[in-house]
């Protein structure tokens, strides 16, 4: 997994609540058996004026000029600012894959759906929950300041605004460690292989029907 320590980048505001994973990456793109290449189809139905299908040349499709990610001032954004319940709906990891492939490294919002939140951490994409007042202020600043950039410092657990305002955030210690080091979860878990084997052996005795 790609490490995450600090990240400085341009912020793009996606000002709507309950953005679901069907919107982040529509189902027709889930037919791929690869992990990469989803970026051009992130937010496909909002981003393009035509209907997207796998295999299309996305460079030649007509973009929706009203959609925020298509606006000139937000080109190159790597920090996504969202409202509440972002990533609700399906468990498709294609959603964080698409956001990461698009170029995002961090998402700041009032709240996230559980499965999406969890999936982000597996991919070096950092979702950060901030109080509503801080998110409201960031929306105002981003919209009123062309080229508005912030720095996310995971080690210090703080978001640094250019005006010096610091916004602390909470992250699970274990997840933080994994991200800072770019650790592979599976490798970590396999260090407990003996414990897993012992647990399994006991379970086989107590509930043999589970091992039919």
């Amino acid at each position: 997994m790609e490490k995450f320590t600090t990240h400085e980048g341009l912020v793009v505001p996606l000002d709507r609540a309950n953005v679901d994973t069907d919107a982040i990456i529509p189902k027709q793109f889930l037919k791929s058996i690869k992990r990469s290449g989803f970026g051009p189809n992130a937010f496909d139905e909002w981003r393009y004026l035509d209907h997207g299908e796998p295999g299309m040349d996305n460079a030649n499709r007509i973009k929706n000029p009203d959609f925020i990610l298509n606006q000139q001032r937000y080109q190159g954004a790597s920090i996504l600012l969202v409202r509440s319940n972002f990533g609700c709906g399906s468990s498709r990891e294609h959603a964080p894959w698409a956001l990461q492939d698009f170029g995002f490294r961090a998402i700041l919002g009032e709240s996230f759906a559980d499965i999406f939140f969890n999936n982000c951490f597996k991919n070096g994409l950092l979702p950060i929950v901030l109080p509503k007042a801080e998110i409201d202020a960031l929306f105002l600043l981003t919209q009123s300041t062309p080229g508005f950039r912030i720095t996310v410092d995971l080690a210090a657990q703080v978001v640094n605004r250019p005006d010096g305002h610091k916004i602390p955030f909470v992250v699970d210690a274990f997840r933080k460690e994994c991200l800072l080091n770019g650790w592979d979860d599976i490798g970590l878990t396999l260090r407990q292989a003996e414990k897993i084997r012992a647990f399994e052996a006991q379970r086989r005795i107590e509930q043999p029907w589970l091992f039919a």
Partner: protein, 469 residues
């Protein structure tokens, strides 16, 4: 100290705990389908790892499979490749059971697990699909996972988890005639919102839940994720145990007594503390229909479409305005005057035998309205289809003008050819009414199977209680 059912299920699976409380949970059952597994099998192979316990795996192809003309195979080459990749992966690693495309037991993964007795009380059940919460109906700790976690479970038989808060949803009283499990769960989501359960494990209790069949409980738990909760479950009772008797993977004679004795302990202790309690009066729930692009945008059949001005929160008001525009609806329109184009009866929410029986009861002797372009009935599995045909339900549907299809996820998410065209409006028994969910530009209204048939017959949403009373 008294414990909730969630505490008991959790503690029974903890292998190891990190300093910050992150636990390694043992996984008993791993359900696998074609969409979210190929990258996990590939990752496993690239890392040179072997699956930990293949006898935990039950696999099927469901999301991409066509629901008609099976003799032609899967026409879409991209879909076909995904299904064939699953075939190859399971062929290579093995599984407790695999029901490939065209197998008579193939079907929606959340229908076949319980049907086969592969979902048993007290299990942890995971699948790369958010509707895995369905299995909570059997007092399982069951939830959806992403593909990285699918790989993690394949490699280690465990998942890294933080314990959730607990919520008791207590639904007391008796539902009126024509009101079903689907209406109960939609009413709940309308009350607490699609993020109301975020961070919680929901236990569904109360007399209205106890009165539900296992099929009804599965419908309720299925949509726990639509309330934001990854897991939703119901305590074990005689209904649970009765359902499991004699199923393929249920415990056999020697183990049955021991298993059921354990299962009966899978209830919350009487005075167990919950972090939150939500109460609903079942007798006040009317048949529900969603009007927007989120399952929380829902109302009773006798209500009107709301106006953005009805909401104080500016973000919510904006969301409602956008939803009404997408849905092509005018504020204050009575819901029972909204005309529809298509009807879909199916999905992991409502495609079990009881759902088809309820739908057929309303359809019997009636006919789909002239303005309906397509009315689909898609059974949840080959075995459900077989059972329905044995009961003559297929003939009732066909006589009423419905199409009777092969099992699969179908138009719930439109990964196969069953889909809405832009602007088409659908009465659907599925679980998500998001923009484009049933096809680019399509407009989805969620409701129960009986209400879907009532809408098909009237050509617009209609109160099933007036048809059946």
């Amino acid at each position: 100290m008294s414990k909730t059912l969630y505490d008991k299920l959790w503690e029974n699976h903890v292998v190891h705990t990190e300093a910050d409380g992150t636990a390694l949970l043992y996984i008993d059952r791993h359900l696998v389908h074609e969409v979210t597994s190929p990258q996990a099998f590939e990752g496993l192979k690239l890392a040179g790892r072997k699956p930990w316990r293949v006898s935990s795996i039950v696999a099927t192809a469901d999301h991409n499979t066509p629901t008609d003309h099976w003799e032609k195979g899967i026409q879409d080459p991209v879909s076909r490749q995904q299904v064939e990749t699953l075939d190859a992966n399971i062929h290579e690693v093995g599984a407790l059971a695999y029901f490939p495309f065209k197998d008579k037991r193939q079907g929606i993964v959340h229908v076949i697990g319980p049907e086969q007795g592969a979902t048993l009380p007290g299990m942890t059940v995971v699948c790369g699909d958010s509707h895995t919460s369905t299995h909570g109906a059997f007092a399982c700790l069951a939830h959806g996972i992403g593909t990285s976690e699918v790989e993690h479970v394949l490699a280690t038989q465990c998942l890294l988890q933080k314990k959730s808060k607990t919520m008791l949803v207590k639904i007391e009283g008796k539902v009126g005639a024509g009101v079903t499990a689907k209406d109960i769960v939609l009413a709940l989501i309308g009350k607490i919102g699609t993020a109301g359960g975020t961070g919680y494990a929901i236990e569904f209790g109360g007399s209205a839940i106890r009165a539900l069949s296992m099929e009804g409980r599965m419908t309720v738990c299925n949509m726990a994720i639509e309330a934001g909760a990854r897991v939703g479950f119901v305590a074990v009772d005689e209904t649970t145990i009765e359902y499991l008797k004699g199923r393929t993977f249920s415990p056999k004679a020697g183990d049955w007594e021991k298993a059921t004795a354990y299962w009966r302990t899978l209830v919350s202790d009487a005075d167990a503390p919950f972090d939150a309690v939500v109460e609903l009066d079942a007798s006040e729930i009317a048949p529900q229909v969603t009007w927007g692009t989120s399952p929380e945008m829902v109302a009773g059949i006798d209500a009107n479409v709301p106006a953005p001005e009805d909401f104080n929160d500016p973000v919510k008001r904006e969301g409602v305005a956008r939803a009404l525009e997408y849905m092509g609806l005018v504020p204050h329109t009575p819901i029972n005057q909204i005309m529809i184009d298509k009807v879909f009866i199916g999905s992991c929410t409502n495609s079990r035998i009881e759902d088809l029986r309820a739908a057929a009861t309303v359809a019997k002797g009636r006919h789909v309205a002239a303005n309906i372009k397509l009315a689909l009935v898609v059974p949840g599995s080959g075995l459900v289809k077989h059972q329905a045909e044995a009961e003559g339900l297929d003939k009732i549907f066909l006589a009423a003008g419905f199409e009777w299809r092969q099992p699969g996820c179908s138009m719930c998410l439109a990964m196969n050819d069953d889909r809405l065209l832009p602007g088409e409006r659908c009465a659907s028994t599925s679980n998500r009414n998001f923009e484009g969910r049933q096809g680019n530009g399509g407009r989805t209204h969620l409701l129960s199977p009986a209400m879907a048939v009532a809408a098909a017959i009237a050509g617009h949403f209609s109160d099933v209680r007036e048809l059946t009373s």
